[in-house]
C-alpha cells in the first residue's frame, strides 16, 4: 500500500510570532522555520505503517518555496522514501492546496493520505477535509489511532465529548491529532542517506492548477494584552477577593 504524506514548512513552534508595526501581516523575516508539528506526526505514522509492513512506499509532498525542500529532506530522514515539491512563491489558501494535492493523488494513487489536522501558522484545519471532498474519499480527522484492516481503515478520532471510531473505505484521508504518536528524531546516518533519496520538483502549472485567491488580508493585529494582576498571600485572601472584589463566587 502506498501512503502519501503532505507536510508544510511553517514557523518553528518555539518561536513567538510578532505582528509587523504597519499591521500588514506577521513578521517572518529571519525567523526559524520547521516542519509543522502535526505534519511530523503524520510522517511518523506513515513510517510506522511501513515498518509494520502495511505500507510499501511513503511519498512526501510539500507545497511552497524552494527552501521547503528542507522539510521534505527532514521527512526523508525520518524514513519516507521519496519527495515531491510543488514549488510556488505564492500565498496558499486551503482550497488551492487541496486542488494541488488532488492532482498529486490522481498521479500517485495512494491508498492512504496522511496529513496534520492543522498548521500552526494559519490554524485553519481545513485542507484534509477539502481534499477528501475533491477526491471523494472518506476522512478520519483528528486521529489518535489508525488501524488498517484489509480494504478499510479504522480511525479513532478525538472529539469534543471523548473518542469516536469510524471505519473508512480505502483509499482514505487521515488527519493527525497530537496523541497519535511521538515522532522520532532523525539519526545522523539517516540524515545523510536522505540527501540521496529522490526529490522531484514540479509546479502548479505542471499540475494544471490555477493559483487563485479569494481571501484578502485586511490587517493583522496583536491580540488584546492581559495585564498581570496581583499576588495573594493565602487561600483565604484569594476566596475573599473572588467573592468581594471580582464577584465571581
Amino acid at each position: 500500500m502506498k501512503v502519501l504524506v503532505a507536510v508544510k514548512r511553517v514557523i518553528d513552534y518555539n518561536v513567538k510570532v510578532r505582528v509587523k508595526p504597519d499591521n500588514s501581516d506577521v513578521d517572518l523575516t529571519n525567523v526559524k522555520m520547521a516542519m509543522n508539528p502535526f505534519c511530523e506526526i503524520a510522517v511518523e505514522e506513515a513510517v510506522r505503517l511501513k515498518e509494520k509492513g502495511v505500507a510499501t512506499e511513503v511519498v512526501v509532498v510539500s507545497i511552497g518555496p524552494k527552501v521547503a525542500q528542507e522539510q521534505i529532506r527532514t521527512a526523508l530522514a525520518l524514513g519516507a522514501d521519496r519527495g515531491i515539491l510543488i514549488e510556488t512563491e505564492e500565498k496558499l489558501e486551503s482550497l488551492t492546496v487541496a486542488k494541488l494535492l488532488k492532482a498529486v493523488v490522481e498521479k500517485e494513487q495512494p491508498q492512504l493520505v496522511l496529513m496534520g489536522k492543522q498548521t500552526i501558522d494559519s490554524d485553519n484545519n481545513q485542507t484534509g477535509q477539502m481534499l477528501g471532498a475533491l477526491t471523494n474519499m472518506a476522512q478520519g480527522t483528528f486521529a489518535s489511532e489508525v488501524a488498517v484492516d484489509g480494504d478499510k481503515v479504522n480511525v479513532t478520532r478525538e472529539i469534543d465529548g471523548g473518542l469516536r471510531t469510524v471505519a473508512l473505505k480505502l483509499p482514505a484521508i487521515v488527519t493527525t491529532d497530537l496523541r497519535l504518536n511521538e515522532p522520532r528524531y532523525a539519526s545522523l546516518p539517516n540524515i545523510m542517506k536522505a540527501k540521496r533519496k529522490p526529490l522531484d520538483v514540479t509546479t502548479p502549472a505542471d499540475l494544471g492548477v490555477a493559483m487563485t485567491s479569494t481571501l484578502s488580508l485586511v490587517k493583522v493585529t496583536p491580540p488584546a494584552e492581559r495585564q498581570a494582576g496581583i499576588k495573594v498571600g493565602s487561600v483565604e485572601e484569594l476566596v475573599e477577593k473572588l467573592k468581594n472584589e471580582a464577584k465571581v463566587l
Partner: protein, 309 residues
Amino acid sequence: MAILVIAEHDNATLKGATLNVVTAAAAIGGDVVVLVAGSNCGAAAEAAAKVAGVSKVLVADNAAYEYQLAENMGELVAELGKEYSHILAAATTTGKDFLPRAAALLDVNMLSEVTAVVDADTFSRPIYAGNAIATVKSSDSIKVMTVRGTAFDAAAAEGGSAAVETVAAVKDAGLSAFVGEELAKSDRPELTGAKIVVSGGRGMQNGDNFEMLYKVADKIGAAVGASRAAVDAGFVPNDMQVGQTGKIVAPDLYIAVGISGAIQHLAGMKDSKVIVAINKDEEAPIFQVADYGLVADLFDAVPALENAL
C-alpha cells in the same frame, strides 16, 4: 440575503454552541435558517424553532445523518447551501469535520474560528495560536465559516417560533461508517459552556490527584479541564484539554492549578473574565495573565480552597 446555520445537536437536544452561531449570523444580517441534520431529530428541530431570531428550520431526518458523518454532511450542506449567502457552523469537532468538505464541494474557501463580524464580507479570526488576529475579506460567492462560540453571546433559546420544513434530499456517500464511541460521562457542566472552570496541569503529578480538583469543582458548580501536558502524560482524557488544539473556554472564572502557562494553553483560556493561578513556581508564565496569583504548593492550597468555599 439568507444565512444557513448548521445546528450542533445529539438528535435529542440542541447543543448550546448553536445559540452562539445564531448570534454571529444575526450580526452578519439577513434571514437566519437553521439546518438540523440527524436521525429521529425532531426534538432538536423543535428546540431550534424556538431560538430567538431564527426564521426557518430545515430538518433532514435520515439514518445517513445519525452520527453526522462528514462525508454525508458535506454533500448535504453543499447541496442546500447553494441558495445562501453565508453558511455557518460551530467551531466544534463536528463543525470542523464536515464544513470544509461542504466548502470544497461549493468551490469556495472557508474561514475557521471566526471571532468577529466586521461586515458581511469581512471577518476576524485568530492565527498563530491566537498570537495575532487576522481580519480577512472574502470575495467568495458563498461565505463559509466556523464560529468560535466564546466570541459571541448565546441567542435566547426561547421566544422564537420558526416554521419547520422537511428536507427530502438524502445524501449517503457510503464511504464511512460509525463504529463506536467512548464519551466521558460527567454530572459537571460542559467545559465550553461552564461559568467556572478548574484546570489542572503537569503539577497534578497523576490522574488520581485530579480528585482534589473534582471536589473543588463540585462545590462551586465548575467544569474541570486540563493542560495539554496533563493529557499527554495520561492523567486525564483528551476531551478535558483546554488550549489551542483542545477546547477554547472563556468562563467568568478560570482557576489554573499546577499549570505553567504555555502559549498553547493560554490560547485556549485567556479570554476568561477572571483568571486565578495556583503554582509553586513564582516565575511561571501563567502569573503574567492571572488576575489573582497564589504562589503555593497545590497539594496544600487545593484542599484549603475546598474547605474555604
